[in-house]
Amino acid sequence: MGQFAGLLLDSIVSGILVGGFYAAMAVGISIAFGMLGISNIAHPALILLGSFIAYVLNSQFGLDPILIGVLATVPFYFLGTLLYSAYEFAFERRGTQLIRGLAFFFGLLFITEVGLQLIFGVDYRLVEAPYIGPSYNIGPVSLPVRMLIPFLASVLLLVGLQIFFARTFTGRAIMAVAQDKFALQLMGAAPVRVKRIAFGLSTATAAMAGAFLIILQPVEPSMGRDYIGRIFAICVLGGIGSLPGTFIAAVIVGVAESITATFYGPSWSPAIAFGFLLIALVVRPAGLFGRA
């Protein structure tokens, strides 16, 4: 195999692995924005908050970062329900959602970021775990375990959520609230309660995505905003509210970025997601797997 083909294959594989992790980051937005119509642009900041929780518990008590991510979903769920209650009270009930709701979440993003900066400074932080470091090599392709673990955990997370949405009453109610709030009320479910649960779930995924992020790479507080464009690009491309679509779009973006980074240099890869976002918005706003 030529050197070029080997390089290409290696960057495709690492793109798929990173893409799986992007899906875990994007799934929260897919729920909040796609199903509930809440443009929670503070989500990346919450992911960073999750990363720093993993950092603190890992460095203080030596807990496994994945375990921390799973445990942190509980407080994050309640944080999410609280945020939704505030949002519902201040904006949805008044009917002036868009501009002020966006400003509200932007304020939250900013407060979280500056708050983390005040506590942890601007240094890069990382976690320690036995699977960070080793790497399998299959021909020209290297499979770093610290990318493999977040990938597999992300796949599990998405499969679990998909089963929840398809099989449980609450899950189906969440899917329904996105389509017809009034009909849902007639079926005997309270839209606000359903949305509160869904938003809690959406923020809970941020705890896990945060743990995955800090396993993949060292983090610093202002990193979250680099992910905003990427995450929304994935959601729009995947089709608003579709979890399989989100996963496939995440892998596409991951591979495209990885190939760009390999052949043109990593400093160009942030522009890729934006390109995808613009193309998706201009050509097909409903996304690859959207209903519209």
């Binding site: 924005f33 443009s39 642009i41 505030a86 201040a90 008044r94 002036t96 868009l98 501009i99 002020r100 966006l102 400003a103 509200f104 932007f106 304020g107 939250l108 900013f110 407060i111 970021e113 500056v114 708050g115 900066q117 005040l118 202002s222 905003r225 680099d226 905003i228 464009g229 929304f232 690009a233 729009v236 400093s267 160009w268 942030p270 522009a271 997601a273 934006f274 976002l277 613009l278 918005l281 201009v282 706003p285």
Partner: protein, 332 residues
Amino acid sequence: MSNGRFIALACLVGAALVGASMFVTNEYYVFAAYFVLQYVVLATAWNILGGYVGYVNFGTTAFLAIGLYSAAALNKWLDLPIPVLIPIAGLLCGAVGLAMGYLTIRLRGVYFTIATLALSVVVQTFITNWEYVGGSRGLYVMRPSEIPVFGSYVAYLFFLMTVLAVAAVVTARVIERSTFGFGLAAIRDDETAAAASGVPVLRLKLIAAAVSGTFMGMAGAPLPFYLTYVEPTSSFSLAYTVNSVAMPLVGGTTSWLGPVIGAVLLGTMQQAMTVLISSSVNLLVVGVLLVIFVIAAPNGILGLIRSMGGKKADPEANPLAAMLVAEKRSSQ
């Protein structure tokens, strides 16, 4: 007050500011006042699209940086003076605003917002990879320490920014009272109803996006000379974006006065706090104020004053009616 009188008054205030700056002995105050005026321009520009039309732009940083870097690059290449650089930067950013608007504003407003957020990342990527302006290492900008008429260079920059601030505020107010402005307000309140009533929705939104971008770019043009050193990380600081959003929302978005109040209040507060406490704490305060105001006082300080004074609702309460009245008047 008629537009003519307002323009005369705004010019008088501007002249008074410039006059006062010449008598200030401590240059720091002129420096700080420049910072506040720059935010008057940015907040007013943001409000033309955000407040009047209801389309949220989170890419102030991107527009400002395009203005900043185009000025820095053209200055390095052709050694152009700032008064020439300002309109060039404005044109460039107006075009970017128009293009962004054309691509995304036809969809739901939130897509435009997301695209503007992503725009900052992309522009930063390009600037970081642009070796001519120093890439990530940054670029020093030479400026003479003395300049005829104004004396110090900072006083000259202050004069330029005052002109921009007066121009921005006058533009905002003229738009607000025009048929164009009533059309924008109608879109803000109900886009479908506005379109059904014959408001050329897409065209008005695109013009507003272009005007807003133009002023943001123009505000960026003198910035390299103010800072004397530009580099991507601080040029793309989220502070510019959060301030230009927070200032109109704190002041009140439906009138030209709101962003001015917000910029003067928050701008002065930040200058004082940067000196007294630290710059990250003051950004935290801006974020907290933004959240408090959007929840507790959705119409900003102006809204609070209005509700306290118990004045009856302004014509903006029913912009479509106001526009029809204005059109009837002009056709007679």
